[in-house]
Amino acid sequence: MDDLLNEFLTETGESIDVVDVELVKLEQDPNNKEVLDNIFRLVHTIKGTCGFLGLPRLESVAHASENVLGKFRDGELQVSESAVTVILESLDRIKEILAGLEATEEEPDGDDSELIGRLDAIAEGGEAPAAEPDPEPDTVDGEIIDPVLGRSLKAGEVSLEELEAAFANAPGPEETGEAEDTPASTETSADADQNLFDRIGGEDTVAVAAHLISQRVENDDKLSKFFEGSSTEQRKGRFMGLMLALFKDDLDAADAVGRQLVTVAGFGEAQFDGMIAVVKTVLTECHVNADTADEAVMTFELVREAVINASKEVAQPKAAAGREKAGTEQAQASKETRRSSQSIRVNVDLLEDLMNMVSELVLTRNQLLQITRNMDNSELGVPLQRLSQCTTELQENVMKTRMQPIGNAWAKLPRIVRDLTVELDKKIELEMLGADTELDRQVLELIKDPLTHMVRNSADHGVESPAERIAAGKPEMGTIVLNAYHEGGHIIIEIKDDGRGINPEKLSKKILEKGLATEGELAGMSEAQIQKFIFHPGFSTAEQVTSVSGRGVGMDVVRSNIEKIGGTIDMVSTVGKGSIFSIKIPLTLAIVAGLIVKAQEERYAIPQISVLELVRATSAEKAGDNDHKIEMINNTPVLRLRNRLLPLVYLNEVLGFESREETEERESTDDFIVVSQVGAFTFGIVVDQVFDTEEIVVKPVAPILKDLEIYSGNTILGDGSVIMILDPNGIASMANQGVSDAADDEDDQEMVRRAASNEKESMLVFRAGQDHPRAVPLSLVARLEEIEIDSVESSDGRLMVQYRGALMPLVLADENMSLRESGSQPVLVFTDRQFTMGLAVDEILDIVEDELEIKLASDKNGVIGSAVINGKASEVIDVTYFLGLAFPDWLASKDMSEDATTSRSSENVLVVDDSDFFRNMLRPILSVAGYNVTAVNCAEAAMDLLEAGDRFDLIISDIEMPDMSGYEFAQAVRDNADWADTRLVALSALSSERDVNRGFEAGFDDYVAKFDKDTLLRSLSQQFKIKGDAA
């Protein structure tokens, strides 16, 4: 394809993308002059370039939309949704034509008159009734760059850009009117409605005249030397451009062209007069009537100064600067800003080559450094330092060239969402976070389409119509949030909507319809599993296939595209709440910060993102009380770090260099521990030495090394050496080998979920005996185990199993259920101090996160009540009941152990919490612990009780409550002298230091994090002890 055309296609494509985005911005903020100017400029450029290349169809469409935009800009028209829609449509048309152009190198056939008609109608409709007699906005902006002129200008090397700059400063249509009144005006002719250009005989005459003038000046002895620098063609182009601009009254353009006319110094007044004489002769020869010719020649006076100045500038460029006309200066300035915002396109192969060369350079530099190091006082030292620094910078910059912010892939999305909102009559807000997260451009290209598709899906299928949303009690405006960030050496992109979520029932029907699974299989699946079916080939959940999505290309394509680049996609969807899709792209092509560590004389990189902190541990003998030291539990090394035990892994051991014992023996000095986090699992990696952090470009390992999960890639460091990048995930899984993991994972998940939401509770849903699901707060479950049926023993009429070196009683979760005949039985393990029991269930269904509200209290043994979990009625079990069943002495022991003060019966405890769940959960726990419990659901109710004279020894209060917060409540209690001796304990999900301090200030005696049952009980007994002591 023609280079020029190719360049045009790329550039126009880019401009249109920008216009897309800007238009949406404009619609939201119609008064933003800057945005409008930008759009206008871009559309104008597109139009101009089309004309330049002789693409009439494109030009006419662009022209029509530019017209409308011009009216917007001049304030003649109000920016309206309908107008923007039509303009967007015209952009789409332009894209279509461009696509055709790209395929065939010719403008495709088609009729745009309808579209243009609509655009014109909008432009007309906005015209003020008292319009100027001859506003013709396109005279100024439009015809100047007509095809003929465009081409000749090219020959004359008056760059389009320069003209653009001039046009940008050209007066708008209404200003043209004023210009006509200026003394320099050409309005001397009798027939005012015909301008000079037409009277001279239009373009044809001008073209002929330009040709002749160009020849004459060449042959003229006095003038020829001033035009030597240019060919006849170039000169012709310049004269033509100049005349067109002059005759059409576009002074700025004329000025710009005029300045280019003469390229040799010394062109003064006399020479200019000579030139004008030539022009006049030529015009007369072209049968232009004498008056008109005079008038035309007069117009040349307008550029006299510019032409002469330009010539002087050639002689003394610096001195001339000050004498420039203000207008010219402006044109210059705008040219400069344009240039500074420019970028150039470079072939990626070229960048790759550059990168290779730089690496080579680095190697050479290192060799040089090595050589000079061995030479004393070499004078090479200083320049070499400089070279070294430059090389490093060069390398960094070259590496950066491949990276692009993910925002580039998002650029189209606001437009897409905006179109959808109009088309589907929805209200959707698109929020984009982390747009500057950098991605390798290859990856970027590959995820562009999947992302677009997913956002479309969210807008189409996810977000409901305003009516539905209001009915569902949600704000009318739906939100789609795009979020990109680095995590654990991956780039995560989340697409989150607050729409209707994915309905598993509807999905099930569809799955059956399509025969992807049987009813039986579906019955055995959790909702999450069913929802994942959207990733199966050929799935679309919308009841109607809209033009937007659901064209058969579904999420399966998205998934396969993402998997192609080694990524994963996951989804969490809650019916009625919305869905979150998260795409995880491995760091293979991305730049990450890596911590460089050493083990056995080799360096390794650990992705900084998974490094929490670095700890230096002193060897056990030398360590003082305040030093960190590695301690052993049954030959397992751990580190005490801020009251937590951190499991340790020795890198030397992981890499198979030497065993831990050997490392320890060898190492008489300190240990360096890299504290890493994988998911919610935190562990320490003991390394020989820690260096600094470097930005590294991750390269995938060779195929033969793919199986080594301890590496996530390799990279070339600044000094040219290759090092392996460790994968903390792989190391963690190596460290976990042999330890039971399923439960850990569950714990991790639970922690993650808990971190994600405070108000929601993670519930473990299982089935036992009955059909309906049962649930237990995950925080109460110590572990999940699969117990071999063979290992279950019966003793004293009770079921037992050997578990972790002790006997653990097994209790059936329901009287109606029985253990399996063979295989293994899922068991939930609960632990309370020294008591550990297993609760045998039929099946563990799922872990769900939901706001838990006990709807129906139950008096059935072992059941707290019923709640709706994940859309299904579930029984929430009472763990204390089962603990009592397993250990008849459990309750007694409870009393024993905590009976530090008086007998409990007299101690009244008031629980204030707006969460039904907590009230219902705390009551049994506290009752079992021997307190008299009263529970209310808000602070006001508690105050009422207190005012009514009820006395409580201790109040446990939530912090976050509607109307009256826990802080206010505590203050109110403290303000009343009668209740001064009541102990106050805060129980809250907010457990940052600030919150805790605030709690103490408000008057709480203790502050306990929610979910922490043991601490709560301990705190209670402590508070009572304090109270007892005080009394």
Binding site: M357, L363, E602, P703, L708, I710, N714, V722
Partner: protein
Amino acid sequence: MNDIVVREDLSLVATGSQDFVTVMLDGQMVGIPVLAVHDVLNAQKITLIPRAPDWVAGVLNLRGRIVTAIDLRRRLGLPPLDEGLSSMSVVVEHNEEPYSLQIDKVGEVLSLEDHLFEKNPVTLDPRWREVSVGIYRLKDQLLPILDVDRLLAFESNSKAA
């Protein structure tokens, strides 16, 4: 970079004569088709890869590309190079991945007549037979020719090695 274009098909067809780079491995001269060789490097700094198969010598940096180094001695069941001696690298490509074959020393390039070529003798060590295309009868010695693709087809024979 050299401008040698690697021919798609490196199999030995009867077209008169073929060129080979000869390399030394534990006293044995071995030929590698010259068109398969991208680079010959002197001793390079090789980064070890713990936990990798033992015939993977490590990775090295070749002008910004990370190249996996294959210890040919180990791959062919030969004893390791004597202490203190460093190996040279012959860089080849397989499935668009660069690999460096670590050998003792590079010899000369030989242009060999096709009629000197013979198939592997059946009694050849299976490890050699697996990666050798055949043998050229030189005047004073025999020259086995390495089949680079088979040598590097780890996907299929990594278990065997």
